[in-house]
């Protein structure tokens, strides 16, 4: 193999590192997207026997948004193996214990159930906040787009922006807005 073709080979099979900002994102929809990157199905060279998955660094996993009532309703099951060893943890409890686990479990359960699953999970790096070690930050070569726009809270708008926003009607002068 000539030097040029060897470099071509490196380029084609180069492993990329992608960043994903999980702020205000649905972790289960995001897992579908992340799954593609860590298993390599986002590349046209994909083959089940071809180890071409990329690394994904997820930040802000503390600030994910679960749909509907899922913080209270979603239950994570664990069994120690001993009699009476079953335990059920609510999503909000799990998130309080470890804010990366909801995302990690979402991705883990979306991946194909085979021997490659653990290897693929090793390419997923989750951080609760936006503080990423420099050794990982310097690898990054791209960013995955978020799936939905991050909403802006009312108290993050300036007074001017709020005042200039069109109103359908004006409150009466003596109307008290309850807090």
């Amino acid at each position: 193999m000539s030097a040029i073709r060897r470099v071509q080979q490196w380029a084609t099979f180069g492993r990329m590192w992608y960043l994903y900002d999980a702020k205000w994102q649905n972790p289960f929809d995001s897992a579908d997207k992340i799954k593609e990157y860590i298993s390599g199905t986002h590349k046209p060279i994909y083959h089940p026997l071809n180890d071409c998955g990329d690394h994904v660094v997820v930040i802000n996993s503390r600030h994910i948004a679960l749909p509907g009532m899922e913080w209270e309703r979603r239950v994570y099951f664990h069994h120690t193996g001993y009699p009476g060893g079953a335990s059920w943890t609510l999503a909000w409890e799990l998130h309080r214990k470890d804010p990366t686990l909801v995302v990690r479990k979402a991705v883990y359960s979306k991946l194909d159930k085979n021997l490659l699953r653990r290897g693929k999970m090793a390419r997923l790096h989750i951080f609760a906040d936006d503080e990423v070690p420099n050794s990982i930050l310097e690898n990054l070569s791209g960013q995955i787009r978020q799936l939905r726009a991050v909403p802006k809270r009312l108290d993050h708008y300036t007074d001017e922006e709020i005042k200039s926003f069109p109103r359908i009607f004006d409150w009466p002068k003596d109307y008290v807005i309850p807090n």
């Binding site: 199905t41 986002h42 590349k43 046209p44 060279i45």
Partner: protein, 145 residues
Amino acid sequence: MVITSPTLFARSRGPDRFWKRRRILALSAHFYGRKQNCFRVAIRSVHRALSFSTKARALKKRDMRILWNTRINAGCEEFGLNFDRMKIVLDDTGVALDRKVLQNLAIWEPRSFRALAMLTRAKEAEQGLNSLQGPPPGVVTRGML
């Protein structure tokens, strides 16, 4: 190397137990243990293997189609498309390329594949679909002239 057993088989006239069994044992030659050489055991596993290979011929086509779809979708997604959208445009414009060729283009001739993706974007923009910015630069379609 010339394989002579078919010739020899053809030359042996009439029903011949040796050749009848040879035919089956030729298919079990790569099996392990008694399945390889004992006819009574071999015939069962050969039938089993042959029924598998019959089914596998259909499965192979299905698997390849799934793989090609995955690859083309991956190629499309780099341009913010998906194959369902591209397929419709390619059909309309008379680009008669099948999945096998398209995935081959996506891997080996990526710039040609990019041209097809841009064509899709341009045609969609012409129809007012999936675009705020209008058609991508560098694509001229008949509708523009």
